[in-house]
Symmetry: D2
Subunit: 346 residues, 4 copies
C-alpha cells in the first residue's frame, strides 16, 4: 500500500485552475522574459492585493533563487544579512547567500522568531565599535512569515522591526515561501497591505501554495527597484517563457484564490493538532499554520509511519522525537480524517 505523504507541502503538482489556463493558452504566441500580458495582469493583481501601486513585482522560479537575488541586489559587498539561527538562508540553502559574497549574521531565535530588540542591540554594538570596519556591517534583515517553525510575526512585531530597520538604514525583507498559509490563519493579523507597508520587499510563495512552481517578489519600496531585471538575468533566473509564471500568479490572485485554497490546509492542521492533544501527545512550538510538530515516542512514531510519511524535525528530551506533519492546499479530507482516527487510536 502506498503511504499518504505529509512530509511537506510541495508533493503534488498545482491547483487545477492553473493547469486549465496553461492548457487553454498553450499555443498562444507571447513575448518572452516576462513581457507578456499574463505577467502584466498578475503583477497588477498583486499590486492591488497589496494595496501598493508603487510596487514592482518580479516572477521567479524558486525560493532560494528569490532569496539570493533579493539579498545580493540590496547589500553592499561588505554587508551581511541578519537572520534567525533557524532561518532558511542560514541552514538549508547550501550557502547560497555566502556564494554571492555576503555573510549571514545569525541571531538566536525563539520558535523561529527574532525581535526588533535583538536587531537593535546587534546594530548598536556594531556602530559603537571603534573597529567596526573589521567586522561585517549589518545591512539588511531577513524574516520568514510564517517562520521555519510555522509561527507568525504579529503586525506589532513587524512594525517594531520596521522602525529599527529604518533607524539603521537597513531594508527589511520577508521570505513568504508559505505566505498563503499565514494569510489563511485565523490568528494572523498581518495583511499583504501591512507587509507592503512594513517590509521593503517580500515574496509571495507559489511553489508551496498552489502553484506548479514560482514565487512573486514584491519590491514595495521604490528605492530598491532599480535595474532588478539585470540581476535576474545575471543569476540565470529570467525564465524565457515568463508567462508560465504570469499565468500561475494571475490565476492564484483572481477571486482571492491564493488565500482560499490555503484556508482548508490550515484548518486541517488545526484538526491534527487537536487530535494529537486529544491523544495526550505534546506539540513542539506554537505553530498555528499548516505545519504540525508532535513529539512522538518511538512506538507512536513507528505506528504512524506504517500508513503515513512525515519529516523528522529533531530530538526531544527523554528519547522522544519531534516530527513534522505538513498539510497543503492539496491534502484530501479523507486522508486527514484517517490520520486523526489513527492518532486517536495510538
Amino acid at each position: 500500500m502506498e503511504r499518504i505523504d505529509f512530509q511537506c507541502d510541495y508533493l503534488e503538482g498545482c491547483h487545477p485552475a492553473i493547469l486549465q489556463v496553461l492548457q487553454d493558452s498553450n499555443l498562444e504566441q507571447t513575448a518572452g522574459y516576462g513581457n507578456d500580458p499574463y505577467c502584466v495582469r498578475a503583477a497588477m493583481r498583486i499590486r492591488e492585493a497589496c494595496a501598493c501601486e508603487a510596487a514592482e513585482v518580479h516572477f521567479l522560479v524558486g525560493g532560494t533563487q528569490t532569496n539570493l537575488l533579493a539579498i545580493s541586489a540590496l547589500l553592499r559587498p561588505y554587508q551581511g544579512v541578519l537572520c534567525a539561527e533557524e532561518g532558511h538562508i542560514a541552514t538549508h540553502e547550501t550557502g547560497a547567500i555566502e556564494a554571492t559574497g555576503h555573510k549571514v549574521l545569525t541571531l538566536p531565535d525563539t520558535d523561529g522568531r527574532i525581535t526588533a530588540a535583538q536587531v537593535e542591540a546587534y546594530c548598536r554594538a556594531h556602530w559603537e565599535s571603534t573597529v567596526q570596519e573589521h567586522t561585517v556591517q549589518p545591512g539588511m534583515v531577513y524574516l520568514s512569515q510564517p517562520t521555519e517553525c510555522g509561527t507568525l510575526y504579529t503586525r506589532a512585531e513587524l512594525a517594531a522591526m520596521h522602525i529599527v530597520c529604518q533607524k539603521y538604514g537597513m531594508p527589511l525583507y520577508v521570505d513568504g515561501a508559505r505566505l498563503g498559509y499565514a494569510l489563511a490563519t485565523p490568528e494572523n493579523d498581518v495583511t499583504l497591505a501591512n507587509l507592503a507597508e512594513l517590509a521593503d520587499l517580500f515574496y509571495i510563495g507559489g511553489t508551496k501554495c498552489g502553484a506548479m512552481f514560482g514565487e512573486a517578489l514584491v519590491i514595495a519600496n521604490p528605492a530598491y527597484q532599480k535595474d532588478f531585471r539585470y540581476m535576474i538575468k545575471q543569476r540565470g533566473a529570467l525564465l524565457a517563457k515568463g508567462r508560465l509564471l504570469g499565468i500561475q500568479f494571475d490565476t492564484l490572485f483572481a477571486e482571492n484564490r491564493y488565500v482560499d485554497i490555503c484556508r482548508q490546509a490550515v484548518a486541517q492542521a488545526a484538526a491534527l493538532r487537536e487530535a494529537f492533544r486529544g491523544a495526550g501527545i505534546p506539540l513542539f512550538g506554537q505553530s498555528p499554520t499548516n505545519q504540525v510538530f508532535p513529539i512522538l515516542t518511538k512506538a507512536q512514531a513507528q505506528a504512524l509511519s506504517e500508513k503515513y510519511v512525515y519529516s523528522i524535525w529533531g530530538a526531544a528530551a527523554d528519547g522522544r522525537t519531534i516530527v513534522r506533519f505538513c498539510t497543503s492546499w492539496a491534502t484530501r479530507l479523507e486522508d486527514i480524517e484517517a490520520l486523526c482516527r489513527d492518532i486517536a487510536a495510538l
Copy 2:
C-alpha cells in the same frame, strides 16, 4: 490583425504530449528535488539516447542557469572559459559567468564557430609565457551546437576540439539550447552519442525544443560529476517539484519525440531559405538549422513586418539589414506557406 511571430523559438507553451502527462500526474505525490520516478526514467532514457551509461543527468530550468552552473563547477578560481566572440555566455547573459568569478576568453569566430587550431594557439601562448600567472588560465572550452548563427560543428571538428582540450587538460562543454534542431538537420553528422564521447558535458535544450521549460545537463565524463547537486542547490537551481522537469524530458525522450518534433521546423526553415533565394534576397551565413537570416532592404523589411514579426540581427553593407526568422516545433504549416507567398511577392 495579430501578426504571426517568427522572432524566436520560445513563443508558445509546450508540446501537447507534455501537457497531457502534467495533467494526468497532477495529484500524484512524489519526492521533491529530482528524486522522483519521472526524473529517474528521463535520465535513463537520456543515457540510452547518448549511449553513455556512465553519464550523470541533471534537469535544470534555463540556459543561462545551466551555463553558469556547468562552468563555475568546473573551473578553478583563476581559470577562464574559451568561447566564440558571438557565444551566448559572452554576449547575452549579463555577465553571468563573470558573476561567478570567471573571465570569458573570447576568440574571433567564423559564422559562430571557433576552431581547434585557435584554441591550440591560445593555450600554447599561455603556457609558453613566462608571466602566465599574470593572465587568466584557459580552463575550459565552450561551444554551442548549433551556434548562435545557426551553424553546426561537424563530428571531425568536434573530434579535433576534443583532442586539443585533452592536451591542455580542459573540459569541453557544449551548449545545446537548440540541440534538437541540430539533431534534426540533414547536414548534421554529430549524434548524441558523439557528443557524449567528444564533450565532457553538454546540455540538451528543452525550452526551445518542445518543453515548457527546462534543460538536461549531461555530465558524460565521471571526472566532473562529483557533488554537482550541491552546486545546483547553492545557485538556487534545484527545483522543489523536480518532477516537472522529469516529466518533460521523459516525454520528449520517449519514442524519439525530441528529434521528431524539431524535424518539421528545420524543413520549414529550409523552405523559407528557398523562398528568400527565389526572391533574389541574399542570406547571411550558412545556417542549415531552424534560424534563417535574410538580408533585407528597407522596403522588404517594411513589407514583411506588416504581417510578420522577426528579429533584427545586425546591419549589413549598403544600408540593408540582417534579420532573423526562427521556426520551431510549434510553427504552423499555413503560416510558413503564407510567409513564403509573401516573400515571393516582394
Copy 3:
C-alpha cells in the same frame, strides 16, 4: 606624557637586522614578483626549519590576505571552512572568506580551541544527512596557533585533528599570525616540523613577530600547491618588489632569529601574569604566550590606563572587565618592570 602601549604586537616597525638588509640591498636590481634570490633563500631556510623539502613557500603581505587566499584556493564553491567561534576569520576579517563565496562554519570553542571530536561530529552529521546537498559541505578546518585567546594546541591534539581531516578528505590549515610566540613558549610541544607534517598548509606570521610586514604561507602538502601563484596575483597579493618579503623572512630565519626574538616577549608576558596574580588579580583563560588577560575592577583599569594602553577584551561577571596586555619582540625591559611595579601597587 606619552603612555606605553601594550595594545597589540604590531605597534613598532621591525627588527633592526631587517632594516639593515633593506638598507644594504636598496639599490640592487632584482627580478620582481618573488623571483629574486632573497625569496629563494628565505623559502629554502623555511623548508629547512620545517624539515619539509616538498613544501612550497609563498610570501604574502598580511594575515587576512593569507587566510582568504589559502581558503578560497582549496575549497570547492559549495564547501565551507570549520572554525572556532572566536576564530579570526569568523570575527575580525569583515567577511573576507564569505566575500570569496564560502561560509565559515563555526564550532563553539573552549578558550579559543576546538577539538577533533567536534569536527568528527559535525562531519558525521553532514555525511549521514539525506539532504546533505541542501547544506554547506565541510571542506576544510581552520585553526590558529596560538589561538585568538593565546592558548596552544598540543601535538597530540593536532595529530587527532589531522586524523579526522584525513578521514573526511579535508585539508587542515593553521593560521600562525603569532606563531613565533607559540614556538618560543616553554609549554609548547608543536615544532615547525610537526606543523608541516600534521597540517596541509599553515602560515608563519611575520607582521607580529619581528617583520615590518609579511606572512610566509607554507603549503606542505604537494596536493594543494598547484597554480597558487595565479591565486596570489588574482587577489592583488603578488607584491611587485617581492624581495621586500624575501629579505625579511631570510633575515628572520637566519640563525634562528624568528624564535629567539619572540622568546623575550613570552618571558615578559609570564612576568606580567606573575605580577597580576601577586596582586590578587585573576586572569581570564590559560594563555601561556605573549597575550595576558587580567580581569580588572574599574578602579584597577583606571589606574593602569594612566600610564599604559591596553585593549578591552570583554565584560566579566560582577562588573569587572577583561583586558589584554600584549608583549612583543620590541617590548622594552624597563617598560615591563615599570608595569609590574604599578600592578603590585594597585
Copy 4:
C-alpha cells in the same frame, strides 16, 4: 658581468629619503591600520597637492589590489567597467576584476588610449537596446595615465571623458601606477588638481615612482567615499602597520619630491629615444614618458642584450621585434650614457 636592467621601473628598493624615515621612526609606537600621524599627514599633503579638500585618501599596497578595490566598491553586481583592450585590468591582472564578479568591457584603443566618443557610442547602444538587461551594463570607465603604452591623455580628452561619464552616471577612474612620470613629462598638461576635478577617483602610484611599495587611492568625489575601509579590510588590503605606507607618501609628497625624482627618468627616456632615432631605429607608438619602445632587428636585439636587459613587447612587421626600455627614478646617469653609446654603435 651583471647586465644593466631596463626591464621595468620596479627593480630597485626605494628612494633613500624614505629609508631614512623608516629607520628613524622604527621603534615608535603608533596605532595600526592607517590611524597613525604619518598617514594623516600624508593624506593631508596629497589633498593639498590635488587642491581637493574633500578627497579621501587610502594607502594600499599594490596596483592590482587598488584596481580591484576601486572597481568592485563602485559597481553594482550587473555592471562592468569600460577599458582599453590594452588596459592592465583587461590583460595582466589574472582576471582580478572578474573574480569580484564584474566583466571588463573592452574598447579598441589607439596607442593605449580610448576616446570619449567610443564610450558615448557604447553607452548609447546599451541604453537604446530593448534587451539591455541581457547584457552587462556599463557602470564605470577605467583609464591609465600614462597608458600601458606610455602615452598621455590631454586635459581636453579627460574633460570630454568626464562629460560622457557624467551623462551616463558612471564614475571615471584613473590608474596612475606611473603617474609620477606623467606629471614629470614636459608634454603633459594634466595636473593632480585636474585629475581630482575630472576623475571621481584615481590612484597615485608609489611602487614604480620611488616608494618601496604602495599606492595612494584618492577618492575625490565624496559620493563614492562611504564605507571604503570595510572594502579594504574585506579584501585583505588593510595593512596592520599602515604607517609604513603613510611614511612613504608623506616623504614623497614633501617638497614636491614625487615629481622631482621622476623628472630625471623622463629626461633619460627622451635621451634614449633620441639615440634610437639617431641610429635610424624606429619607435613604436608615441610614448613621451619613461617607457621607450624601439623596433629592433634580430641583430640589434641580440647586440643590446649582451649588456642590457629589456622586455619583449610584441612582434612588428617584417620580422622585427618591439621591445621596451624603462627608466626610473633609480636609473643611473652612467648607465644611460653607456646605453646611448651602444645604440649609436649599432
